[in-house]
Amino acid sequence: MKKTSIGNPHIATPYVAWSVIFIVVPLLMVGYYSFTDEAGNFTFANISKIIEYNYLKIFGVSILYALVATIITLLISYPLAYFMTKTKLSTQGTLMLLVMLPMWMNLLIRTYSLSNILERNGLINTFLESIGLEKVQLINTPGAVILGMVYNFIPYMILPIYSALSKLDHRLLEASSDLGGNGFTTLKRVIIPLSMPGVISGITMVFVPSVSTFYISQKLGGIRNELIGDVIEQQFKLNSNYNLGASLSLILMVMIIISLMIMNKFTADDDDGGVIV
């Protein structure tokens, strides 16, 4: 029988080429720069420099901030997404638009606006002053960085959870109720387990950009809240040390993979949906 064109194995060729050129090659280049010096000789110097210069502490802080931001985002997003699915269909559309709207605006602009609000003479402090209160240090704190992460990445958590929850079969909820499960039991035993794939993609899509961000920490965290993204940026832009920059990126990548694997270990159980690594 003649094969239809869509079943033709060559149809994947452009995508394979794309993946090779824009994903595999850059990765190999990161690997190459990580283990060479400026002259192109093989070396472990970059890696040992990372340990010497105490970059590991910055790695730790970055992961911690990203983790806290991800947890806060999840705690806000899950109930929000859940109540969105319970509203009328037309309301759901409007709410969805409101969630997406900020995503159409550039991340830099959003972060810059946030820094204006939090500044020493920003919106909040001006307000506090006008009602006779002391100014508060908001900008250049860990809280400001985490707020920036939550604010910028929350749509990426809401959307997959909302999508998982709205696909849930209402009959399963009736079945749970029929078998004696009250609202809480149904949430715990049916709704949450079945929306886990959405939760896992949400966590990934918030955690990964948070852990590697540099602009948010620069604008909202000042020099005292430097994250690994900032360090990498400095190596490439200020110091022109591509080798150290590449090896920092490589280690960050490995750490992200390890974090996600740990997360999968905790959430996957015997579930087959939503596995990332």
């Binding site: 009736e174 109720s177 078998l179 004696g180 579930d271």
Partner: protein, 382 residues
């Protein structure tokens, strides 16, 4: 005072939007009874079941469970379990955990759960499939898991919402027998919803025929078949010739221009009535011996019997007989007094015509399209 009726519905009505789905339903169900709610799509049978299960709250009327009003009792507090139309098994749990769900919710001990689950698996013949995922099971196996999951909670009443609709004919027949067996061995009340009249007649102690949100007739399968209350019931259950007639006096019925002896009485003199004659109760005889005579217009051989259409004064009768006849023959019809069933006129009178447009194909088409979705599938938002 303890009522011997386990479930009572009193004057239940419910509307979805402007559509009245149930209109004054009164129904009493005895403990241990196998009751079937039978009717066409949209008749309100599934809604009735959902009201008993606690998934819908009636606009008016009372739902009683062992004599106590349970209108406001949520589903999870009712000692009633449901087998849903498409089973609604939990896809994230294996067979064992699906069946154990109700017991886990009630925080039963692991050992008790294990014992009960294996007992249930044995009951539904699924031993050894504990670890299987739901999506690896066939439709029939999923059906059995759904039964086991519901029965593991030891309900006093089991509600079954078209549980066999998705199975093929052979499997459906087997499951009918098996469900009946399970019901008898456990001795609990089954309330079964179906649009399949044969299923209703084979399995039930009591059949409740519904249409347009109202109960048309409640009775044993035999009553429903032999003594239909109105033209709708007569037409919906089995094949029937429904004719306009008059009762000149007790034990006499006039239709098709002939006055027959019959067993019915209690009608006013010359009352207009509907008369039902089942196709298998008519004998074909020589024209001169017949009470009525007509011309055969079609003959279909169905194996067990012939299905013969006879035109009598413009009304096409259906007759099922083992005697052969040929198209164009003039034949006589002979009808025994006990084959004639007289019904009072109802809103359904005149709605069901003769067999002039009848063909097997149309009948089969109707069977196939029946009831993919029942009346209120779209009405939930969780």
């Amino acid at each position: 005072m303890k009522s011997e009726n386990i479930i009572e519905l009193k004057n239940i009505s419910i509307s979805f939007g402007s559509q009245t789905v149930l209109d004054g339903i009164d129904l009493s169900i005895r403990d241990g009874e196998f009751v079937t709610l039978l009717g066409p799509s949209g008749c309100g049978k599934t809604t009735t079941l959902r009201i008993i299960g606690g998934f819908e709250t009636p606009d008016g009327g009372d739902v009683l469970f062992n004599g106590k009003r349970i209108n406001d009792l949520p589903a999870y507090k009712r000692n009633v379990n449901t087998i849903f139309q498409r089973y609604a098994l939990f896809p994230h749990l294996n067979v064992y955990e699906n069946i154990a769900f109700g017991m886990r919710v009630k925080k039963a001990k692991d050992a008790d759960i294990k014992k009960k689950v294996s007992e249930m698996l044995k009951l539904v013949n699924l031993e050894g499939l504990e670890k299987r995922k739901i999506d690896t099971l066939s439709g029939g196996q999923q059906q059995r898991v759904a039964i086991a999951r519901a029965l593991a909670n030891e309900p006093s009443v089991l509600l079954l919402d078209e549980p066999l609709a998705a199975l093929d004919l052979k499997l459906r027949k087997d499951m009918q027998v098996e469900l009946k067996k399970i019901q008898q061995s456990l001795g609990i009340t089954f309330i079964f919803v179906t649009h399949d009249q044969e299923e209703a007649l084979t399995m039930s102690d009591t059949v409740v025929v519904m249409d347009a949100g109202k109960i048309q007739q409640i009775g044993t399968p035999k009553d429903i078949y032999n003594e239909p209350k109105n033209a709708f019931v007569a037409d919906f259950i089995g094949e029937s010739n429904i004719l306009d007639g008059v009762m000149p006096e007790d034990y006499k019925a006039t239709f098709s221009g002939y006055t027959f002896n019959c067993l019915d009485k209690g009608f006013e003199k010359n009352e207009q009535v509907d008369v039902v004659v089942r196709p298998e109760d008519v004998d074909i005889v020589a024209p001169e011996k017949g009470m009525l005579t007509g011309v055969v217009t079609s003959v279909t051989f169905l194996g067990v019997h012939y299905e013969i259409i006879v035109d009598i004064g413009g009304f096409k009768w259906m007759i099922q007989t083992t005697d052969e006849a040929f198209e164009g023959d003039t034949v006589g019809l002979y009808i025994e007094p006990d084959a004639i069933h007289v019904m009072r006129k109802s809103e359904y009178s005149g709605m069901f015509g003769d067999y002039s447009s009848y063909s097997d194909e149309i009948d089969h088409l109707n069977d196939a399209e029946v009831n993919e979705e029942d009346e209120n599938e779209e009405n939930f938002d969780w």
